[in-house]
C-alpha cells in the first residue's frame, strides 16, 4: 500500500487540511455561539476566549494552506499539457483538465466547476483571517461585544460556505477525472 507523490498532495490538500478546516470551524462556531455573559463565568470566558483564538486561527491557517497547496502544487498537475497538444488530441499523458474537456458530458466540470473552484476558494482565507484577527483583538472582551460577535459568526460561516463550495466541487471533479 503506497501513495504516489500526486496522491499524497491531493490527500494533504483535500482531506488533511480539509478535515482540519472542518474541525476548526465546528469548534470555532460553537465557541463563538456560546460566548454570552449569562452562559459562562469570568473564568470560563478566559478559557473560552483562548480556545476560540486557537480555533479561528487554525481555520485561517488551514484555509491559506489549502489554497496554496491546491493552486500551486495540485492544480499544475490538473492542467498539465504534457504533449503540447492536449487541447486538440487528448492522450493518457494529459492532465485531468483535458480528460474532462475531451468529453462533452464532462466538459462542464472544468468549464464551470474548476473555473469556479479555483477562484472562489481564495476568498475563504481572507474572511477566516479577518475573523481570527477580530477574535484575537477583542479576546475576553468579545463577550461584551455581542453585536460584533454576531457579524463574526456570519463571516465565519461565509468563509466555511465558500470553502465548502470549493471543496465539494473538488471532490466531484476528482471523481470525474482524478489527478494521477
Amino acid at each position: 500500500m503506497s501513495f504516489t507523490s500526486r496522491e499524497f498532495w491531493t490527500i494533504v490538500h483535500g482531506m488533511g487540511l480539509g478535515a482540519a478546516f472542518l474541525l476548526a470551524f465546528a469548534g470555532g462556531l460553537a465557541g463563538l455561539w456560546s460566548l454570552r455573559p449569562g452562559l459562562v463565568t469570568d473564568a470560563g470566558v478566559v478559557e473560552r476566549a483562548k480556545r476560540l483564538k486557537i480555533g479561528t486561527w487554525t481555520m485561517a491557517v488551514a484555509a491559506w494552506l489549502t489554497v496554496l497547496t491546491g493552486s500551486f502544487i495540485v492544480y499544475p498537475w490538473y492542467r498539465a499539457d504534457t504533449t503540447g497538444a492536449c487541447e486538440e488530441s487528448f492522450t493518457e499523458a494529459c492532465g485531468a483538465k483535458y480528460a474532462l474537456l475531451a468529453d462533452s458530458a464532462t466538459a462542464q466540470w472544468h468549464e464551470f466547476g474548476m473555473e469556479w473552484k479555483e477562484h472562489i476558494a481564495w476568498i475563504a482565507p481572507l474572511l477566516a483571517t479577518a475573523v481570527a484577527v477580530a477574535v484575537s483583538y477583542y479576546g475576553v472582551k468579545l463577550v461584551r461585544e455581542q453585536g460584533i460577535k454576531k457579524v463574526l459568526i456570519i463571516a465565519f460561516c461565509a468563509a466555511f460556505a465558500i470553502a465548502g463550495i470549493a471543496g465539494a466541487l473538488g471532490a466531484f471533479i476528482t471523481k470525474a477525472a482524478p489527478v494521477i
Binding site: 499544475p76 477562484h119 457579524v151 461565509a158
Partner: protein, 123 residues
C-alpha cells in the same frame, strides 16, 4: 469612511469598561473585501483580455491563476497594513464597515462566478 477618535466614543460599547477602538477590526474586514474585489476584477480582466491574462501568467505550470491570486492576496495584506495604520486608534461606525465589507465581498464573488466572468470572454 472616516472614524472618530475612540476616546470620544460613547454608547453601549462603553459598558465593556476599557473600550477598544473598532478601527483595527474594521481595517482587516475592509481589507478582506478589497482582496475579494481585486480577485473578481482580475478574473474578469483575464477573461476579457489575452494580454492581461498573459501578464498574470507568472508561472507556466500554474497559468494566470498565480498572478490573480497573488495580486489579490497582496491587495489584502497591503490594504490591511495601510488601513490598520490609519484606523488603529479610530472608531469607525461598525454598521458602515459591515456594509462595505459585504458589498466588496459580494462583488468579488460575482466577479469569480464563471457564468458571469465568462460573459467578458474575448475573441
Amino acid at each position: 469612511m472616516t472614524g472618530t477618535d475612540a476616546s470620544a466614543g460613547t454608547g453601549s460599547r462603553d459598558v465593556a469598561g476599557a473600550q477598544k477602538p473598532f478601527g483595527p477590526v474594521a481595517a482587516v474586514f475592509i481589507a478582506a473585501g478589497i482582496g475579494s474585489l481585486v480577485l473578481g476584477i482580475l478574473t474578469m480582466a483575464a477573461e476579457a483580455s489575452a494580454s492581461i491574462k498573459s501578464m498574470l501568467e507568472w508561472s507556466k505550470a500554474v497559468g494566470p491563476l498565480m498572478g490573480k491570486t497573488l495580486v489579490s492576496s497582496a491587495a489584502f495584506f497591503i490594504s490591511w497594513g495601510v488601513l490598520h495604520a490609519a484606523w488603529k486608534s479610530k472608531d469607525p461606525e461598525p454598521r458602515k464597515v459591515w456594509i462595505w465589507t459585504s458589498v466588496l465581498v459580494l462583488l468579488g464573488l460575482l466577479g469569480t462566478f464563471p457564468i458571469f466572468f465568462q460573459l467578458f470572454a474575448g475573441e
